[in-house]
């Protein structure tokens, strides 16, 4: 057995997902190869650190919030009944609308007959579409509230759309702020995205991403170099964030071109209120 194959099989070996024969081969190889032996040791060490992670307690209000959400939800069996009822209502509404459309078009003169036919076809389609939308919204009513996050999906699509195509020169700026602003809450992804969206209204933000962990929110994006100063002003004066540290990492410059503007790659760390 060679080193490459051995290392490829270590994961299965640890979980004993291999044949007795292969197990012998791996153990023989490891006895002779100190490098692979070390690799196995490293892997075991790393997985041990993973297993050591503690189980996190549920947030205090978890069960309460959840049972509230569930109560707001209609009982599964009833909501099914409701859906059918509304669907059939919507369908009969569509039929009535169609009848009206046809009745109206029948009044059009003979010369316009072809046109009338075409139009009625279109109308029919439109009416059907409308009724679909109606039914859709009725169905949505049964879902009490969409998670906040969903609202941001579109913005994300629009703003982050051309990530792959534009290769830009971007000096990496690490900006670290402490959040002492009682009015600014950024402790989860949806809030971080709202924050980013507000920044986007001022600056030309590209290629963004957010990562939220227990101690901080990391917001990553590119902005044109010439507005960097304005961004810093806004963070300090409008958002009342306290600047702790700024470092630039010119070594991590990305290759440019295709874009006339020079962009700075910002990695904004906002430490949570403690």
């Amino acid at each position: 057995m060679d080193c490459k194959l051995c290392q490829e099989r270590l994961s299965d070996y640890i979980d004993n997902q291999i044949s007795e024969e292969e197990k012998q081969q791996i153990e023989n190889h490891i006895r002779q190869c100190s490098y692979c032996a070390k690799e196995l040791e490293n892997l075991k060490f790393a997985l041990e650190s993973l297993k050591e992670l503690p189980e996190i307690d549920l947030p205090q209000n978890f069960s309460k919030e959840l049972s509230k959400k569930i109560k707001n939800e209609k009982k599964p069996i009833n909501s099914r009944f409701l859906n059918y009822k509304w669907l059939s209502l919507g369908a009969s509404a569509a039929v009535i609308l169609l009848m009206i459309v046809f009745t109206n078009l029948n009044g059009i003169s003979v010369e316009d007959n072809n046109l009338a036919c075409d139009t009625s076809g279109q109308q029919q389609q439109m009416t059907m579409e409308n009724s679909d939308i109606e039914n859709q919204s009725i169905r949505d009513d049964n879902i009490p509230e969409k998670p906040e996050f969903d609202k941001n999906e579109n913005t994300f699509e629009i703003m982050g759309g051309d990530i792959e195509q534009n290769v830009m020169k971007a000096e990496v700026q690490h900006l670290t702020y402490k959040n002492f602003n009682a009015d600014l809450n950024v402790t989860k992804t949806s809030q971080a995205l709202d924050f980013l969206e507000r920044l986007n209204q001022r600056f030309q933000i590209k290629n963004f991403n957010v990562q939220v962990n227990e101690e901080e929110v990391i917001v990553i994006f590119d902005i044109p170099v010439d507005v960097l100063h304005d961004l810093l002003e806004v963070l300090t004066n409008e958002y009342k964030l306290e600047n702790i540290d700024n470092t630039s990492e010119s070594g991590r410059q990305k290759e440019k071109l295709e874009e006339e503007l020079e962009f700075t790659h910002i990695e904004l760390h906002i430490k949570n209120k403690s």
């Binding site: 939800e73 599964p76 996050f149």
Partner: protein, 201 residues
């Protein structure tokens, strides 16, 4: 499918919310923990876990008991977590050497209340756990989920393949690659840390 849960599910299908709460009680902690390790913070994890239960409740009538409720529930959880991530679109380069704030130790305080570690040792353990979490978050989502299910939830290959709706071969290869990436980042971090300590001395 054990008969106790089968009965509970029949009751929920007949409209008994109370019975659903029994299942929530039984699985909320694991569901929350899967989400927590996947996203790395408790507010998002709480939202995701609640969304997963709500989805389960809404679609319970389509649950055919082909699998256990647990498998079905984890399947929904995994999908909810990944959907959230898909919205983030671009893979994130997590800054692994980000300075770490020392003022948020409450969560950890609770964990160590009854342990016999010295303050320095506790600090070490906390820092390591934070770091391990950051590495998890830096992995591609497929590898991340399979690692969470295997290493933290201790599930079998068969269970994981049912939850993720993929073959056991796929579970093996994702686990292999996920473990490798995790190991490499972990070892690189430990080496960097040792180097820094030597420099301080």
């Amino acid at each position: 499918m054990n008969s106790d849960e089968s009965l509970i599910i029949d009751k929920i299908k007949k409209g008994d919310i109370g019975s659903f709460n029994i299942l929530v009680e039984r699985y909320q902690k694991q569901v929350f923990n899967i989400a927590y390790r996947f996203v790395g913070n408790s507010e998002d994890a709480s939202d995701l876990a609640q969304e997963a239960f709500l989805k389960a409740y809404k679609s319970i009538k389509t649950f055919r008991k082909d699998s256990s409720f647990k498998t079905w529930m984890y399947h929904i959880t995994s999908n909810v977590c990944k959907d959230e991530l898909r919205k983030k679109k671009k893979a994130l380069v997590v800054s692994l050497d980000a300075p770490i704030s020392g003022n948020d130790g409450q969560e950890f305080e609770r964990q160590f209340k009854s342990s016999v570690l010295s303050p320095e040792e506790k600090y070490e353990v906390q820092e390591k756990q934070k770091f391990v979490q950051k590495i998890i978050n830096s992995l591609p989502e497929d590898y991340r989920m399979v690692l969470i299910l295997r290493e933290l939830q201790d599930l079998s290959y068969q269970e994981i393949s049912d939850i993720l709706n993929c073959s056991i071969g796929t579970v093996k290869s994702r686990l292999n690659r996920g473990r490798k990436q995790f190991k490499e980042k972990m070892i690189a971090h430990m080496e960097q840390k040792n180097k820094n300590q030597r420099q301080i001395k």
